[in-house]
Structure formats: structure tokens, C-alpha cells
Amino acid sequence: MEKKTINIDMKQYGMVIAMIAIFFIFNILSAGKNATPMNINNLIMQNSYVIILAVGMLLCVLTGNVDLGVGSVVALTGGICAIFVLDYGMPIPLAFLVVIIIGILTGMFAGFFIAALGIPPFIVTLATMLMGRGLTYVALKAQTKGPLPTSYTQIGAGYLPAISIGPKEAPIDLLSIIVAIVATLLIIFFELKSIKTKKKYGFDTIPMWQTVIKLIIIMAILWFFMVKLATYRGMPIVLVLITVLIGIYHFITSKTVAGRQVYALGGNAKAARLSGINTKKVFFWVYTNMGLLSAIAGIVLSARNASATPKAGDGFEMDAIAACYIGGAATAGGIGTIIGAVVGALIMGILNNGMSLIGWSTDIQKVVKGCVLLGAVTVDLVSKRKNN
């Protein structure tokens, strides 16, 4: 029993440790450039949309499938949103709402074919990928639409109002520090609460040293990020957005009946059906949800670029899928976590960012990313086979 707990934790730590190791390697290669406050800020901004997509993609991957259409939906929703705001003068919050509904509808479209008609998701989403890209070119007349107003770009490029303290030449944002303190207290509170419930039920608890190591790693990452952000321009709005999304989806997948149903469907669809799970419904909502998150990513991307282009989001589906697999999800479905997918996305982000900083071309970057994906999945599968 005890031995098993350690193994499970090691696997989760493994990914995080790999991420930290990669960060340190590039820290040395780039002579410290990748740890500057500005670069940490960029790291979050640049990867926010891939993280948002990876969170939704994980649910598709859990069912044993993928959604190839997300990159196109990102472009389509970003494009439509820009048109509404710039050409029709629609109020920005309303434009966001309408575009999110459009995203949900694209998800429902795919979900309908997959769930109700039983068409393989690969085919359906390959089709939505082509259709979405084509429609984007039609809508934008193959032109870039911009520049978008500041109130729009805030969501992708803006910051929460900073409370500057400290010396004038090197101000520190108090808000970021307060957030870090609150987060620290919350993490410790939940950890203690979980230990208490486990004791109440008389379950075996994880050895204390493991809990302490886990907390130290989490705290170190948290404070590292927050201090860096505090010395730059404070909390990016998009960071708040992705934290909320990660929190919601982590809760859904790990703590709710709906989440468990997705895992069960991916593990064995026939057994899930005979256990009273409406597998069609699960499929439908998983793909509908992917549409919703694609729309959010579309808004964030267009906001960050301050414009919408028909080529936007090209290849994002592959980044999101790769993030899930690097994060330990199984291609056959039924295995994977939201946190894993987020770490997978961050690993790719750190790689991209680090290689750019040391001046490697995007061509080489692709080769390296391919190697990392192949390596991560190979190590995962080979070690699993050994254990069996």
C-alpha cells in the first residue's frame, strides 16, 4: 500500500521535475535570460492559449480521441470577434459573449456527428478543421483585421491594477505578493484538511516527508513566478483566467461524477454503458466543451496580437494534443490529468521560449519538440511495460 502511493507520486513529480530541469538547462544556455521578470511574464502570455486548449483537449484525449479542429475554431472565433468589434461596433463584452456562443455551437456541431451519428471523431474534427479555416478566410476576406482597441486587448495583454511599493527605480507590485500569500495559505489549509479527513476515516496517510517535499516544490514554483511578476508589471489578467480554468477543470475531472464518467468511457466504453453511463451524452459534452475553450483561446489570442488573422492558431491543435501526451495521458484513453496536461504545455512553452532566446531557428525548434514528445511518451510506455 505504502509503496504504491510513492510510485504514483513519483510519476507526477517526474513531469514537474523534468520541467524544472529543462528550465535550468536553458537558464544556463541563455546566461540567465530566461529567468528575467519580463521573460517569465512572456512565458505565461505566450502559452496561455495552448494551456487553455490543452485543458479542453485532455477531456477529448481521455475519451481516447483528439479534436483536430481547435486551431481553426481559434482563428474563426478570433476573426469573428474582431469583425463584430471593428466593423459593427459591437460592445466588447457582448462580442465576447456572442463569440463564446459561436464556439459552443461549433463544438455542438462536432459533438452531434460524433455522439448521435457515431462518426469517428478523427474524421469529424478533420472536417471541422478544414471548414473552420476556410470560413475564417471567407469572413476576414483573407486579410488581417486590426488594430483592436485597448479595452479588447486587455484580456490577452493587460495586467491587474498594480499597487506599487518599494523604491521608485525597482518597484514591487503588492497585489502579486498578496495573491501569493493567500495562495500559500490556501494550499496549506487544503493539505491539512485532507490529512484530517483521512485520519477521521482511518485511512493510511502519505508519509509526512513526502507531503513536505510536495509542498516545498509547489511553494517554490509559486513564489518564483509571483516574485518575478511582482518585479515586472504585476499580475497578467490572462494568468487569472487560466488559473480559474485550470481550477475548474481539475475539480471536474478529479472530483465530480461527470469527470469520472469521462475516465470510465475512455477506459472501456462498453462497460461504462452497461454501468448506466450515457456514453453519447459524455461524448457530446466533451466536444461541446472543446468548442467553448477554443473560443476563449481565440479571444485571448486575438487580444494578445491586437488583431485577427486568418492564419491564427495554425497548428495549435497539435501543440495541445502533444501537451496532453507529454503530460502522461494515454492515447487509448482513460488515463491523464489536467495538471499533467498543463505541465506538458509548460514544458513545450519553456522549450520554445528557451530555444528562441539562444537563437535557434523555428525549424530546429520543431525538431526538438518532436523529439521531446516522442521521448516522453516512449519513456512513459517503456517504464509501464517494465512494471508489468
Binding site: 504504491k4 485511512f203 469520472r260 475516465y263 477506459g267 448506466g276 453511463i277 482513460g334 488515463i335
Partner: protein, 516 residues
């Protein structure tokens, strides 16, 4: 040549420190049918995998002497080239290829330079099929359109095409009905006449005593004894004693029936095939089950028992379903499995790996899956702690042998997997349990434990529908039996009237009536 074709001496094989085989010895005479018996996990399949080279030379200790020579097999190809062919429990046919293509798969009939000679292939396939009495099959039919029994025979033909001297059959009759099994056994006897030596692994002791010349019993990775037809008498009691290491005084635990009111009443139930709306699978079936009663459904494979059960379980099978389904006098309209579960009906599938369990998930999650929404959640949020408590309770209650409730069910033995499936449905607190082949492919000891669980459930006042292809089991367990044949009820037998002969007679006379 000596009359011993194969000797395996002092074979020991370990898996990460656990001895799966411990100094096993096996001697097989040329031209005999040699049976291997043992509980699941005793090491039969491991031994055969050592022999066929699945576990390569060096990964085990001990010698294999075949045709008087010591052998070192590094792959299945090595052992096949010496004439040792193994037919695994899971069929290894390619479903969309034709019979002829399957027979020569990996062993193609080629002309010069590796081009397949289709004329010769077909000719040869026809000849080979005649050997197993399938000369009337069209060799161009894809194998997935054949029944399991015929597919098993195709596997044998495939082995014969490889010039086999020693044929190993791993539970060849597990998925076959009585008639098909009989046919297969006859073919084995024919092969013996042609000089082919066979090793057969099986749980069906009656079959073994029918075909085998010698029987070797293995228990916990050790050879217990080898019996010969000439010197020993093959009795089930003796074999079972060897397998489990104790005398099973009674295969079926005693139970005092305490039968209550009518719990389930089904009237004029009709079901059509899900893909073919003109093919009626269940025809006007009516029956009753009382609280605390175990009612058996006997019949040949394809009689429609599973289809009947699944169609009752929230229309999980079939289309155009009509008829009345009453529970405690109330008519139920179940449109999906969820509604069936809510109405306290449970169905334990005959195929636990494909329909019963999520093999990659742990014991706990499998146990609570069907009851998750009703019993382990509040507003859709799972209470994981309650889950752990319940899973621990049931693991203990029905004696699931595992390190912890966090162990994946894929790593459990068949018997323990079946217990997990039973626990999953017991946790839904059903009034009606439909058990479809609840003891298929599990060993004698675990069977007994499962019978005890079923008896306890009956004692607790549940209505139990017990579907089984093993007639002794039906006779030993049930208060009453319906015989199903070709989608119709062919007869109803009370406990006092139950015998294998009576059930068979029921089917045969029903067939006769149908044909006139």
C-alpha cells in the same frame, strides 16, 4: 525414436521474484492426448509459453527435451519450425480475411520470389478443411461471419497447415457450447489417429476424462501428479482434489430456499436484432421470478439468453422491444441502463473484460462505478472517502484477493475480477440480479466462493436470474429453471425434475416441434 516426444525437466520461471513455475516436470508420450489441469494462475499457460518460446530460452531454468534433443527456443518461430504449435485461448484470426487466407497466414503458399499462389492456396485450404469436417464451408468467407466454434476449428486447421507434430490447445472449448465442444473433441481423437500429439488445457473435467490418455495436475506452479488412463481411473473428485489440494465435499453450497412474493414478471417479451429489424431474437417470452429465488436460464449457445437479459436491462440490446416487464406488480418502462439501475435491477455481463470492468482502473473505481451518482455523490461531486470505505468493506466481505483497493483490476485473476463485478452490482443495492455466466473461465475454488455469494444474495431476498451454459451448475444452484431455445421458452423445470437429460430433452423436443 523413443516413445517420449517431449520432456520438460525442472522448469522454474519467476516473474519479478514470484515463482510462477517451481521445478515443474512434464513428460508427454508420442501420439497421446495429454491434459493439463489446474486452477487459474496455477501455471499451465506459463508452462506452455515456456515450451513454445514465448518466454525465451534463458528467462527460465530447466531443460526442454523434444524428440530426444535438448531445445533452446528463442521465439515462437523456433518452436514452430520443430513442429510445436500452440493455439491460444484468445483466437488469433484476422476477422476480415477469408478462411483460406487465415489458414495460411504467416505461412503463405508462394511460388518463386514470394508471390502468393492463390490457386494452390485455395486448393490446399479445401483439403485441410475436409480434415476437420468443414468441407462444406466456402473458403472465401471472411472468418468473422463464422461462429466461435467454427473459428476454433479454423485455428486448428491453421496449425495443421504448419506440419504440426505437437499441438497445444489452451482452453479450446471455453467459448464453445456442448455440441461444438463435442465436435472439437472428436477432431482431437482423429488427429491422434493421424499420429499428432496433443496437449490440452481445460477446466472442463468431463471433457478431459473423455479424450485424455494422461492428465497432469499442476497446483501453485508445481506438478502434483500425472495420471495414466491404463493405470489410474480419471474421476472428477480425484482431479479436483489434486487441483485445489483439498476434497471439495460439495461443489455447490447448500441453501435453504426462502421464497417470497413474485418480484419479476415478464409477459410476451419480443426483441429484434439490433442490426436487422426482421430477425426476431426473442419470441413471446414470459416468465416469473420470486424474491429469494434463483431461477436458471439454460439453453444452447445462441438460444438468446444473453439477449433476453440485456434487453430487459434498460434495452441494452436489440430494437423494436415489446412486452410487459413488471417488478413487484408495477409495470416498468426502462429506456436505458440508468433507469434500470434506478429501478434496482442489476446485470452482470458474461464478458467481464469487455463489458464488466474497466481494466486500467483500480478496484475501488470499478466497484463504485454503477452506484456513483446515487450513493457516492452530492450534487455531482464525488465523496471519495465514502468510496474508499465501501470498497474496503466489500473487498473484505466477498474476499477479493488483492494488495489494496488501489490495485488495477487488469492485474487480478479471473475469479477476483468476477468478484469485483459482483461487488459493483451489490453496491447498487438491487432487488433483481441478472447473472450471465457468473463463473465463466474461473477456477473451482473461486467458483465455490461465488456460489456462496449468490446464495447469500438470495437469502437476503433478492430475485436472481442465473444464466449458465454449464448444466451441472444450473442444476446445483437453481430453484427453478427455464429452458430457452431459439428465442422461446422451451420448458420450465422445478428443482425436483432437474437433470441434464431433462434439459437436453426439453431442447431436442422443442427443436423437433419447431421443425414440423
Amino acid at each position: 525414436m523413443s516413445d517420449i516426444i517431449l520432456e520438460m525437466n525442472h522448469i522454474t520461471k519467476e516473474f519479478s521474484g514470484v515463482k510462477a513455475l517451481d521445478d515443474v516436470n512434464l513428460k508427454v508420450k508420442r501420439g497421446e492426448i495429454h491434459a493439463l489441469c489446474g486452477e487459474n494462475g496455477a501455471g499451465k499457460s506459463t508452462l506452455m509459453n515456456v515450451l513454445s518460446g514465448v518466454y525465451t530460452y534463458g528467462s527460465y531454468s530447466g531443460d526442454i527435451i523434444y524428440n530426444g534433443k535438448a531445445c533452446q527456443f528463442h521465439s515462437i518461430k523456433d518452436s514452430e519450425s520443430k513442429g510445436i504449435v500452440i493455439i491460444h485461448q484468445e483466437l488469433a484470426l484476422s476477422p476480415y480475411l477469408s478462411i483460406a487466407e487465415n489458414i495460411f497466414i504467416g505461412n503463405e503458399v508462394t511460388s518463386a520470389k514470394g508471390v502468393i499462389d492463390w490457386t494452390k492456396t485455395r486448393q490446399k485450404a479445401k483439403e485441410m478443411l475436409a480434415k476437420v469436417g468443414l468441407e462444406n464451408e466456402n473458403i472465401n468467407t471472411p472468418v468473422n461471419s463464422l461462429g466461435v466454434g467454427k473459428q476454433q476449428l479454423i485455428e486448428i486447421v491453421k496449425a495443421l497447415a504448419k506440419k504440426v507434430d505437437l499441438l497445444i490447445l489452451d482452453e479450446p472449448t471455453a467459448a464453445l457450447n456442448d455440441e461444438e465442444s463435442k465436435q472439437l473433441l472428436e477432431i482431437m481423437l482423429q488427429l491422434k489417429k493421424q499420429g499428432i500429439t496433443c496437449i490440452i488445457i481445460s477446466h472442463k473435467l468431463s471433457e478431459l476424462s473423455y479424450v485424455a490418455d494422461s492428465i497432469t495436475v499442476i497446483r501453485d506452479g508445481k506438478t502434483i501428479e500425472t495420471m495414466n488412463k491404463e493405470t489410474d481411473e480419471f474421476t472428477e473428485d480425484r482431479i479436483i482434489k489434486g487441483m485445489v489440494g483439498r476434497e471439495l465435499t460439495n461443489l455447490y453450497p447448500a441453501r435453504e430456499s426462502n421464497i417470497g412474493d413474485v418480484m419479476v414478471e415478464v409477459n410476451n417479451w419480443n426483441v429484434y436484432h439490433p442490426d436487422d429489424e426482421h430477425r426476431q431474437i426473442i419470441k413471446n417470452v414470459s416468465f416469473q421470478v420470486r424474491a429469494g429465488e434463483i431461477v436458471g436460464f439454460a439453453g444452447l449457445m445462441g438460444a438468446g439468453r444473453t439477449e433476453l437479459a440485456m434487453s430487459l436491462f434498460g434495452k441494452a440490446y436489440g430494437q423494436k422491444i415489446t412486452g410487459e416487464f413488471k417488478k413487484k406488480g408495477e409495470v416498468l418502462h426502462l429506456n436505458n441502463v440508468r433507469e434500470a439501475i434506478k429501478n434496482k435491477i442489476a446485470y452482470v455481463s458474461e464478458d467481464r473484460k469487455n463489458f464488466g470492468l474497466i481494466l486500467i482502473d483500480d478496484i475501488k473505481q470499478n466497484m463504485t462505478l454503477a452506484a456513483l451518482r446515487e450513493y457516492f455523490s452530492k450534487k455531482g461531486v464525488v465523496n471519495k472517502n465514502e468510496e474508499i470505505v465501501t470498497a474496503k468493506k466489500f473487498k473484505k466481505l466477498i474476499n477479493v484477493k488483492a494488495n489494496s483497493i488501489e490495485q488495477t483490476v487488469g492485474s487480478l485473476s479471473g475469479g477476483n475480477q468476477q468478484k469485483v463485478v459482483l461487488a459493483k452490482w451489490m453496491i447498487t443495492e438491487p432487488d433483481v440480479l441478472i447473472l450471465d455466466e457468473p463463473t465463466r473461465g474461473i477456477d473451482v475454488g473461486a467458483k465455490y466462493e461465488i456460489y456462496c455469494i449468490i446464495n447469500d444474495l438470495a437469502k437476503a431476498g433478492k430475485a436472481i436470474i442465473f444464466i449458465s451454459s454449464e448444466m451441472p451448475e444450473i442444476i446445483g444452484m437453481c430453484d427453478r429453471v427455464y429452458v430457452l431455445n431459439e428465442g422461446k421458452i422451451a420448458g420450465e423445470l422445478d428443482k425436483e425434475d432437474l437433470s441434464q437429460e431433462k434439459i437436453m430433452k426439453c431442447i431436442v423436443t422443442h427443436n423437433g416441434k419447431e421443425n414440423n
